[in-house]
Each structure stands twice: as C-alpha cells, then as structure tokens.
C-alpha cells in the first residue's frame, strides 16, 4: 500500500497515515510525532508518555488505542498545561454495561494467563478472560468478587464464583537521569515493538541487556544522563569500573528490570477477594528496587525530580505517604506505576528502610465518567395508579415524600375552597399501609405504640405516634382494629419504608407470633373530603358511612373498599382504600358523580394549607430529630402508665428535664413568612417557623413553629420578619371539631352506575404499557402452613419470602393451616411475559446477580435498580415489578 491509500488519523490537525490494526501511538511515532513531547515510552500502558486527547477524551493512552480512520488526536501541551474541560454538552449515546458470570476470571492473557486459562478449562470451569492487549482494561476488583473492565464497546462487569487469576505481568522500570524527558528513549520491549512495526530507530544504544532482534550497541552500567537538545543524541553511562562512557545515538533502549503490575493485587489485600485470588507469572514477582536515583525526573505526571525529593526529605517528610502528598509524586495519570520503584529506592537510601508501596486504589486503568456510569440508574420515584389521571387533569407533578404526587391542578385556591365549601378528592395512595395478624398482634402493637391499643374497639381507628428508643417521634398514623388479632396500620408516605423495617425488626427481636403484610404499593387510597363528602359517597352507593374514626368494608362506585372516616383537612372526610387496579375507575366515577357539586381534586399544596389550619403536624416538616411528644404538645397521645413501649424509658427520664422548646401555633397579619423564618423574642433567638400560610378561611396568617421557653414560659408575642406574631391555640380552624366530627346522614340516592361512561375512561388511563397489573392472591402465613399446601401446577405460585407467597391460583383460605394467615387479593404487581431468548440479553445488561439455569424457577432481586421478581418458565419469562415502579422499569429495560 502506498501512503496515500492508507487510512489516516488526524493529529493536531495534520493527517497521519496508519496501517490498519496498529495503535495510534505507532502511527504517530512513524510520523516522528511524540505525543507528549518526550519521556521513555513503554508501549505497554504503564508510562504516562503517550497520553493524548483522542476524539475529545483526554488522558488516553495512545499505545493502547487502535488507530481508526478519522480519529482526532490532540497532543497534550508539552509545557504541562492541562487540557481544557470539554464544556460542550452534546448528548452522547449511553455506554452499555454487561454482566457476566464465570467460575474463573483471568486478567491478562500473556503466557501465564494462557496457561491458567487452559488449566481451568481442562478442569471444566467456566472461564472469562480479560486482556488489556485485546482492549479489555480491568479498572478494579471490587467487593462481591466483581471485576470491572472497560472496553471500547462498553463496560464488562465480571462476577467470579471461584477464582480471580491475576496474570498482569510486569512493567519495565523507566530510567531516572537528567534528560529523561527527551524523545528517543524507549524501554527494551518498546524498542522491539517499534522495530517490528517497521519504525526506523536510527542508531540504537541498548542499556542493560540486549534487545531481541535489534542491532544495537550494548552498554551496561548506571545511566548518568541523556543528552540532546530536541531529542536524545547521546547517553552517558557509568560502567562497572567507575568510568563514564558517552555513546552517541538516535534511540536509547533501556532495560532496567521489571516491577510487577500488582495494583489489582494490592488493592485487594486483606479483603475476601484476595482469598480467592491467584497471582501468576511476572505479576507475582518481587518488585525490583532500582538503584537510588541521583538526578532527573522521577514522576513525569506531576513533574517531580530527585532534587524535589531531596528537598522534601530535608524538610522532614519521610513517610512514603507524606513524600507523595508533599511532592504529588505518584498522584498523576499513571498513579505511580512509573515512579513507585524509584520512590521506594530513594526512601530506602535516605531512611535505611524499604517502605511498602503506597496504597493501590481503583481505577488501575483509566476510563471516563460516562463509561463508569454504565448500568447506573437514578433512584426511582414511584407513581400511584392515578398518575395518568393527575396528568390528564393538568397537575403539576412533584416529588413529595418519595413519590410523584400532584402539587396542584393549576388553581390552589379553587382546590382549597372545593374542600372547605363543597367536596373534593385527593390521591393518598402513597400512605403506608400494613396488615398485622396473629396471636401476638396486640402485644406487638402495645409494645410499639405509646397508646393503649387494647382499648381500641373493633371497627374503630385511632391516631397514633410512633416513637424511637429515645422517645422521639419517628412517624404518625393510624391503628385500625378489625379484631383483637387483626389490625391495619397506616404510616406517612415518607415514613412507610422505614416503618416496615421497624415493625418487622421489633417483631422478630421480641419473638412475637405475628404475620405482617405491607400493602403500601398494592393499595390505592382516595380521600373524599368536604361538607358534601357523605352526599357524594351516597351517590356512589355508600349510604351508611362509618362514624368519625370508624371504618367498614363497602362497595363504593362498584369498587370494594375499606372506608375510614377521619379528617386531616378539618372537613368531613372518608378515605377509600382499594386494590389499586380500580383506582382510575373509582377516581373518575367520583369526579363524574360530583360534577354538579363543583367537585375538584386537590393537590398537596392545598392539602398543606388545609391541614395547617386544622393544626395537624406533618412529621418531618414540623417535627425534628429531637421531637418528643411533650415538645410537640402531643402528650395526649402517650400513655406513660402502660407497662412498656418503645421510647417509654426515655420519656420517663426526659419528661423530668425542664422543657426547652415546643411546637406552637402562631398567627399574624400581613403576608405569610417563609417556612424556616427565624422567630425572635426581644431580639433573642426564639425558634423558627415550620409551616406558614395565609389561611383563606380565616383571613390571617397561621403558622406552626418551634418556640423556646424563656424562664420556663413560652412568650405570647414574638417577632417574625420584623413584625409581631401572636402565639395561638391550635387548631386554628374547626376549633370544636364540629365539621370534622359532624354527625351525618346522607340523603342522596345511589346513582345507577351502569349508565356511566367511566369504563372507557378507566381503560384509557390504564393503557400505559407493556406491563399489565396482575390480579393475584397474596398470602402471609406460617412457613410450615405454606409448605403444607400443594399449589396447582397450571398456576404460577411464587414463594417470595418464607412466610409469604403470590399465586394466580384460587386460594381457599381454609386450606391454609394457619388461622392467622393473611389472604388478600393483590394487584400490586404488574407483569410482562416475554420469550426467554429476547429478554435474557436485556436482563444481562441490568441484572448484577446470576439467574437460575433450571426451569421453571423463581428469582427475585434488584434489576436495573428496581425490585423485580422473575418467573422463568421453559420458553418464557414473566417479569414482575411493583405497579408503582412498572413505568420506570419499562423505560429502563425496553
């Protein structure tokens, strides 16, 4: 091929031809172009002298990069100036990550790696090999026996079951002498590679040992200096007899010995991964310690000379780490692979003690932030079953309490007044919801909650605080009693996840006999609130609603619901809990039935105003990490005369300590201060506002805030925003609870729903998607009771925990030998059937654990950052995910 017919890469705007298959560096050297302007090249990925910006990515080792036609190379400035930050933000395709599983992973496919691979294969082990020479650059070995490698085609996450073989070989020690920054210096191996590539080296002097296949003049001894102006012209060597010899040359090939490439090994010292690691070949060799360097650059990345080391040594920096930090030697792009032997030699010479190498850390080969991100996902924010409805109604969606929720539907005041004067519905599906059943259910709740649980009557609910061991309020919610052995608990949206851990942990710690089912993600909940709420529900078929703080099962708008009467808004309110598959229908029917009542849905913003007027605290917003019931003025919710509950001991102690601050109600005129505004009392800090709003129904500003006591007394008047504010009793609105607790007898007649055009709407709103909500039976029972049942094979039955399963079979509750079993219909999971061969490759990209190989099989774990359950049938795979996360999983996988 002639030069003109060769493909070209562009180096600093000049086209340079290359022979297909060769590295960018070889092509550049053939064109007499040294990437960084000088320094001893190793051509093995160890030194920093071939770094350049390649296709916009700086610090790329051109010796490890295959030349491609049109590749754009910019040389790093030889004066040491750093490359610019690439500030363009053109979108780039995401880098893929693939998860691979094997018995043995072999890192490095030189001779020793090949031998190890052959042995492992012969023993019938599954082997994966990663070879930097083949473009698989291992960046680190991580917990879980995870070996991460970068390739041009994406990231490899290799999970080794049995053994990690490190066969990374050894690096050649570069020379340290004056002039070692000149071009024309190469290691022995590099020289051989260059000659093999047909690059003219001119007159070559080999220092140390001969270089295979090269006609070079050999000299042994210590290098005193490299000489030359723009490039090396001679090398001066002190020979064994002490005499110096100056040899004129065009290229110096240096052979100063080897140092093991053991960064991956040192990185795992003292870890479980080290225990399954075998280091073979040169990587296992002792590190050669060269003679103490006398002059010249030791660390090229940071520009550190022997003089600098001497200077810093004399300044009292003697520990390897201190010398590194004081000079920055070893902290540059090659992470010490070139300078470490010389640093050790220097410190051994000065201190008389060979210090261990500094700590090896990932990444041992460099990669971009975009590359290392491959396979990462954002924390998923779940969506309720009404998400599409909110969007259709023009809601501005917000992340609130860990969920996407409607902040408002465009007009907060309209939403507010719908609640105060008519009727409104709100999506409260995000509330934590948990069933507890069992002989010890009452005992568990008595120990968990500071209220007298035994006095709750069946069919009634009670507002409760949840305390931690220090007596601080963690959460609040309801206990709803069905029977003495069966309860439903609710928690705040933001507190629900932790609450499940809390309840399960205590139940287990105390060894109590209970079944626990978290239904937060399975049940939808709609709050119907406003003076006309009961009328609306009567139209929907609920003509005998439960009394205040009562609950019942009922069919509302054709949907089986558990109806709770309570009030967060200060108006007549009913919460309808139901299987979330029905949420869109229930929502739309209620909106349609209430149209002539002026019904409007309300968002969180309106809800926050409503509850503030009613003086209800919001745990997490009004409460703080140190909020005792006394500080929150919620002592009425705590029965200290109970024998024991979590937090009781702490409260008995802290209640004796003089009170320092309380959450109080405040009111003032004029504009509402911001939440967080500082409260002053006679120019002394007195606390801060936690909730603040102009109260539309009251025509003044109402607030909750933390107020300090002064000489044991809460001030009556304080200053906020330079204006006077008065302490006020809460609630601000519905003071005697005549609205919230109103006795109601609805007069409206049930509407014939068969005439309603809602089915179509509901179908439409559920039309997102590949994943479809599944209707299954969910059972929590004693493990032995679940074991004893034979589940029909034509159905899918997934044992998702020792005491819990999901099944598509009809369940006869009586057939389960556990009278306390919880058996519910559950629509909390959405599923998708796919052919195995189409879905397995997708899962490999997103699943960091190994799927079972037998069929059929059940597996569960995190996939694409989401909790996924898999049913692996012969030909097909069912992918199951909690419905609130289904849209997210769909986006991530398909």
């Amino acid at each position: 091929m002639t030069e003109n017919s060769l493909p070209k890469l562009i180096v600093d705007n000049h086209p340079i031809p290359f022979i297909p298959g060769e590295s960018a560096l070889i092509a550049m050297l053939r064109a007499d172009c040294h990437p960084t302007g000088g320094g001893c090249l190793c051509l093995a990925g160890d030194c920093p002298h071939c770094l350049a910006t390649v296709d916009g990515v700086s610090y790329v080792r051109t010796c490890q990069t295959s030349a491609r036609p049109g590749m754009v190379v910019q040389r790093h400035h030889a004066d040491g100036a750093y490359p610019p930050l690439p500030l363009d933000d053109r979108p780039a395709p995401a880098v893929a990550a693939t998860n691979l599983f094997c018995d043995v992973v072999i890192i490095g496919m030189g001779e020793s790696g090949q031998t190890a691979a052959a042995q492992a294969v012969a023993m019938g082990q599954e082997v994966i090999t990663l070879d930097a020479g083949a473009g698989q650059e291992v960046i680190g070995i991580y917990p879980g026996a995870l070996v991460v490698a970068r390739t041009d085609a994406g990231m490899l996450h290799v999970h080794a079951r049995q053994e990690i073989v490190v066969a990374t070989g050894a690096a050649e020690i570069p020379p340290v002498a004056p002039g070692n920054h000149l071009p024309g210096i190469v290691t022995g191996r590099a020289a051989a590679q260059l000659v093999a590539a047909g690059i003219e080296l001119g007159r070559v002097v080999a220092v140390g040992t001969p270089v295979n296949g090269i006609d070079a003049e050999l000299v042994t001894g210590e290098i005193v200096a490299f000489e030359g102006a723009a490039k090396v012209e001679a090398v001066v060597v002190r020979q064994a007899d002490g005499g110096e010899r100056r040899m004129v040359c065009d290229t110096v090939a240096v052979n100063l010995g080897l140092t093991p490439r053991d960064g991956l090994v040192r990185m795992t010292n003292g870890t479980p991964e080290r225990a399954i690691m075998r280091v073979v070949g040169d990587a296992a060799s002792e590190a050669a310690i060269p003679p103490c360097p006398l002059a010249g650059i030791v660390c090229h990345c940071s520009g550190v000379t022997v003089n600098d080391l001497d200077f810093i040594w004399q300044r009292g920096f003697h520990e390897m780490e201190l010398v590194k930090r004081a000079t920055l030697a070893g902290t540059g792009s090659c992470q010490g692979s070139a300078c470490l032997p010389h640093l050790r030699a220097f410190l051994a010479d000065r201190g008389g003690e060979l210090q261990p190498p500094f700590t090896a850390r990932p990444v041992t080969r460099q990669l971009t932030i975009g590359e290392v991100s491959a396979g990462a996902h954002h924390h998923a924010t779940p969506r309720t079953a009404l998400d599409a409805e909110h969007r259709k109604l023009g809601a501005r969606m917000e992340r609130v309490g860990g969920w996407w929720r409607p902040w408002n539907y465009g007009n907060v005041l309209e939403e507010y007044w719908a609640v105060r004067a008519g009727v409104s519905i709100g999506d409260v599906s995000t509330l934590g919801k948990m069933q507890i059943s069992g002989p010890d259910a009452l005992e568990l709740l008595e120990r968990l909650y500071p209220t007298q649980v035994a006095t709750i009557k069946p069919g009634r609910t009670r507002y409760v605080l949840l305390l931690d061991e220090r007596g601080y309020v963690m959460d609040d919610g309801l206990i709803c009693k069905e029977s003495v052995t069966r309860y439903t608990l609710t928690f705040t949206s933001g507190g629900a996840t932790f609450a499940e851990l809390w309840v399960r942990d205590w139940a287990e710690s105390w060894g109590l006999d209970v079944r626990i089912l978290n239904q937060t993600l399975s049940l939808g909940a709609i709050n119907v609130t406003g003076p006309l709420a009961a009328e609306l529900l009567a139209r929907a078929g609920l003509t005998n609603p439960p009394p205040y703080m009562g609950q019942m099962e009922a069919i509302v708008a054709g949907v089986p619901c558990r109806v709770y009467r309570l009030s967060f808004t200060g108006e007549l309110s009913y919460e309808l809990h139901h299987d979330s598959i029905h949420s869109p229908m229930l929502w739309n029917v209620l909106l349609a039935l209430g149209a002539d009542m002026g019904i409007k849905p309300h968002g969180i913003e309106a809800l926050l105003k409503l509850r503030l007027e009613k003086g209800h605290i919001l745990v997490g917003q009004d409460s703080d990490f140190d909020s005792t019931p006394r500080r929150l003025q919620h002592e009425w919710a705590v029965k200290l005369d109970k024998p024991n509950f979590v937090g009781r001991q702490a409260l008995l102690r802290t209640n004796k300590i003089p009170l320092d601050k309380q959450l109080v109600g405040l009111e003032m005129d004029g504009p509402a201060p911001i939440e967080g505004a500082v409260i002053w009392h006679n120019d002394v800090y007195a606390g801060y506002v936690t909730s603040s709003s102009l109260a539309p129904a009251l025509g003044k500003v109402v607030m909750l805030g933390w107020l300090r006591l002064f000489d044991g007394v809460l001030p009556e008047v304080v200053t906020i925003d330079g204006r006077a504010a008065r302490r006020a009793a809460t609630p601000f609105y519905d003071v005697n609870a005549s609205r919230a607790r109103a006795k109601v007898t609805p007069t409206a007649q049930p509407v014939d729903l068969s005439t309603f055009p809602f089915a179509e709407q509901a179908a439409e709103s559920n039309s997102h998607a590949l994943f479809q909500q599944m209707t299954m039976q969910r059972i929590v029972a004693l493990p032995a009771a679940l074991d004893a049942v034979t589940w029909p094979e034509e159905n899918i039955t997934l044992r998702i925990a020792p005491d819990e399963l999901l099944t598509t079979a009809e369940v006869d509750a009586a057939a389960i030998a556990d009278p306390h079993a919880i058996v519910v219909t559950d629509t909390g999971f959405s599923g998708l059937w796919r052919k195995s061969d189409s879905v397995l490759p997708i899962l490999a990209q997103h699943c960091e654990w190994e799927l079972p190989r037998q069929r059929p099989a059940f597996a569960q774990g995190m996939i694409a950052g989401l909790p996924v359950k898999l049913w692996l049938a012969e030909e097909e795979i069912l992918v199951l995910v909690p419905t609130p996360l289904a849209a997210e999983l769909e986006e991530r996988l398909f």
Binding site: V57, S58, V60, Y82, P83, P84, L85, P86, L87, D89, G140, Y142, P143, V148, H157, G303, D308, R315, G316, F317, E319, E321, L322, R325, A326, T327, L328, T331, G332, S333, Q335, R361, P362, V363, Q366, T368, I369, G370, V372, S373, A374, G375, A376, H378, E398, R399, V400, W407, E605, F625, D626, T628, R653, I657, I674, E675, G676, A677, V678, Y685
Partner: protein, 402 residues
C-alpha cells in the same frame, strides 16, 4: 518541577518524653489544630500528639476539602462561621500556603421540599452571621453555567442557596501548617505511635500506654477518627457514635474552568475543581456502618452517573482515582466536643462528614477548654452530656452531602 511541591514547611521530629502536660491522641487536623492553638494562644507547649500512622493520614487527608458554614441550626452556624473566618486568615497567620480559595458554594434544590429547605437555610444562616442567600434558576445559571438546568430531564433545578464564603483548601497543607506551627513552638509529634490503653489513677486519666511504652499526661485529649469508640471505651466513656465509610473520586487534571462548589440535595453529590484541575466528586456516607477503607464500584458508578446528570460536561472526563474515608456519625449529626465526665480526659469527635471545615475552630476551642478548664460558649452546646440532657442538636443542615 510543579508549583504544588511543598516549599516552606519544616517538620521536626523528637524522641518521646516520659511525660507531657497534654497528650493528644490522633494526629489529624483536629489534634494538630488543638496543639497549634495550645502553643500559639496559650503558651502551652509541653504537648505531644500521638499518631498511629502519619500526620493527616486519616480523614484529614481523605476529605473533599470543603469549607462552609451553611448549617441549619444557630449553634452550628456560629461555630462553623468562626471556622470559615479562621481559615480565611490561617494562611497569613502560619505564613504557609494552604491553597485556600473562596469559591462560593451552590446547593441545588429540585422540588418544593428542597426549595423550602434552602430558603430556611438562608434564613438561619443570615440570622447567625453566615452569608447565604436563596437563588433562583437565573442566578444559578450565572454562577455555574455548566449546570444542565433541566437536570437531564430527570432532576430539573428549581432553586437553591448560595453561600459565597464557601471555600476549599488543600487538606494536607492545612495539617502540615498546623503541625509545623505547633512543632516550632516545642510541641512533639510522634508518628507510628499507637495508643493501646489509657493509664488511670483512681477515676482520673493520667496518661496513655502506647506500643512504644507509657507516656504520662496531665490531660489526654482524644482527637481520634474512626476507632474513637474504642479509645473512649478505655476511659469508660460510652459514645453514641457509629462509623460509616464515605467515598469520593477525582478525575485527571484539566484547565481550571469550573469555579464554584456545586451540591445537589436531590441527586446527593457535590463537585468542585481542585487547584490542580481535578474534578473532585463525592456523595453521602455509605449506609452500613464499617471501618472499611475499601472503595466500591457501586458508589463510583452511581455517583458518576448522578454528577453527570447535572454536569453533562463531566461525561468525557477520565477518572484518576477513588478512595474512602470513615466518618464518625453522632445521632444528631453534630460533633461532640468537650469534657467527658472522666477527669483528665477530653474528647473531640463526631466529625461525620464535616470535620475538615471545623479544624481551626475545633482546635481553637478545644485548646481554650484545655488551657482554662472552662468550656467556651461557642462549643458548650456540643458537649457529650447533651444526649443525657435531651438537648441534642438536630441539624438537618449538616445531614446533607458533605
């Protein structure tokens, strides 16, 4: 030759003496600063600092060097503002280049709750002497034009707080400037000296036992990071501390073009560019307690991903190194400083992810306590007894990312 080679610090090492007036366990920033302020402010120089490895080798040399005072409660704002101000003059006082640079710190909010928190932060900061203001999207874009205000379509930036006095300094150089300043005045620092026990006479701590022999002390201060619960236990003091790993990573070196420190409360990461041009990126603590210094892939992968979402220019930057430190977390996310109830034994701990920024003020105040026997007002709220007294310092402002 690089401009970052330490030019002025002269460390002097001594053989240990049998007795010192003050023995400080832990040669990190807080231990060194206490020794420095004892020597410079109180003329107390018969002091030894004992360090298990090398000075500044723990979290003082592993942190991400952010200095700020934008905390959430008055006590913390006052204390950290003192530290911010001491840092501003530390270079002049020690005549050593600690690479202090005021950069301005931007904390970004991505939802209503976040906006509310940043407004509240600005409010309490302003009330107690720290300069923090609430800023809208337009101002944010002016301060840091590299931010993708759409947050990759996932985490749009809605607002934030700006703390103009937010700064960084080179952690090692802070440690060395303080060490040298103490040494010059006669303080002894003993590296590779591990404390294996405390010597007690009756109820009083009167010295330490080290792997190199006993050392008597008028007063012992624990300025230990990491295994502090073990050391306190030797004195019979139980600490409400859990130790969690904290990880970070840096990229290679690039021209200095990214000025501020940017943190996102939604995406839970923060980023700044060092004097050497590395982009330095960190996140929140690991959830499980551990003393492990091992780096994780999930952290690197996830943190890189989150940072790139808001700062898309990071995509093509090459990573240089990741590392791990450990954080002593107290239940209220505030430090614990002062007396312990055991005579002769003082403590400074609970430095969580905010230890570096507190070094000068922590050292100054602890030195004053040791010199006078009286707890200074600035740190009185941070005593260990606050847990028993039910006067914890619940600080949402510190429970953020750094």
């Amino acid at each position: 030759m690089n401009e970052f080679i330490e030019q002025k610090v002269q460390l002097q090492w001594h053989e240990p003496k049998a007795n010192y007036d003050v023995v400080i366990v832990g040669g990190g920033g807080h231990g060194l600063a206490t020794a420095y302020f004892l020597a410079t402010r109180h003329g107390i120089t018969n002091v030894a600092v004992l360090e298990r490895k090398y000075i500044g080798g723990g979290n003082s040399g592993r942190n991400t060097t952010v200095i700020r005072a934008n905390y959430g409660i008055p006590e913390a704002v006052r204390f950290y503002q003192r530290s911010v101000e001491l840092y501003q003059t530390l270079e002049a006082e020690t005549e050593r280049w600690i690479m202090h640079k005021q950069k301005g710190l931007l904390w970004l909010a991505h939802n209503e709750a976040g906006i509310r928190a940043e407004r509240a932060r600005a409010e309490v900061n302003t009330a107690f002497g720290a300069k923090t203001e609430y800023v809208g999207p337009k101002e944010i874009q002016e301060i840091a034009p590299q931010i993708d205000m759409m947050g990759g379509g996932v985490w749009p930036v809605l607002g934030g707080s700006y703390h103009p006095e937010g700064a960084t300094a080179r952690h090692d150089r802070v440690n060395w400037a303080l060490a040298e300043g103490a040494m010059r005045r006669g303080v002894h620092i003993h590296q590779r000296t591990t404390v294996i026990g405390l010597r007690k006479e009756g109820d009083r701590v009167v010295g330490v036992m080290t792997d190199k022999g006993p050392i008597g002390a008028g007063v012992v201060l624990s300025a230990v990071g990491g295994h502090v619960t073990n050391l306190a236990n030797m004195a019979g003091v139980r600490l409400p501390i859990r130790t969690h790993p904290l990880q970070a990573f840096v990229t290679n070196h690039y021209a200095r073009q990214f000025d501020p420190i940017v943190a996102s409360m939604g995406l839970l990461f923060y980023a700044s560019q060092t004097a050497r041009g590395e982009m330095l990126i960190g996140a929140e603590i690991d959830r499980q307690p551990s003393y492990s210094y091992r780096s994780g892939h999930h952290f690197l992968q996830s943190c890189a991903f989150r940072a790139m979402t808001l700062l898309p220019f990071l995509r093509n930057l090459r990573i240089l190194r990741q590392w791990t430190g450990v954080c002593d977390m107290s239940p209220d996310y505030s430090p614990i400083m002062g007396q312990t109830g055991v005579d002769g034994f003082y403590i400074t701990t609970g430095w969580g992810t905010w230890g570096f920024k507190a070094i000068p003020a922590g050292g100054e105040q602890m030195a004053q306590l040791i010199a006078t026997g009286e707890t200074p007002a600035l740190i009185a709220p941070f005593g260990l007894d606050r847990f028993a007294r039910d006067r914890t310092l619940a600080d949402r402002g510190s429970a953020g990312t750094h």
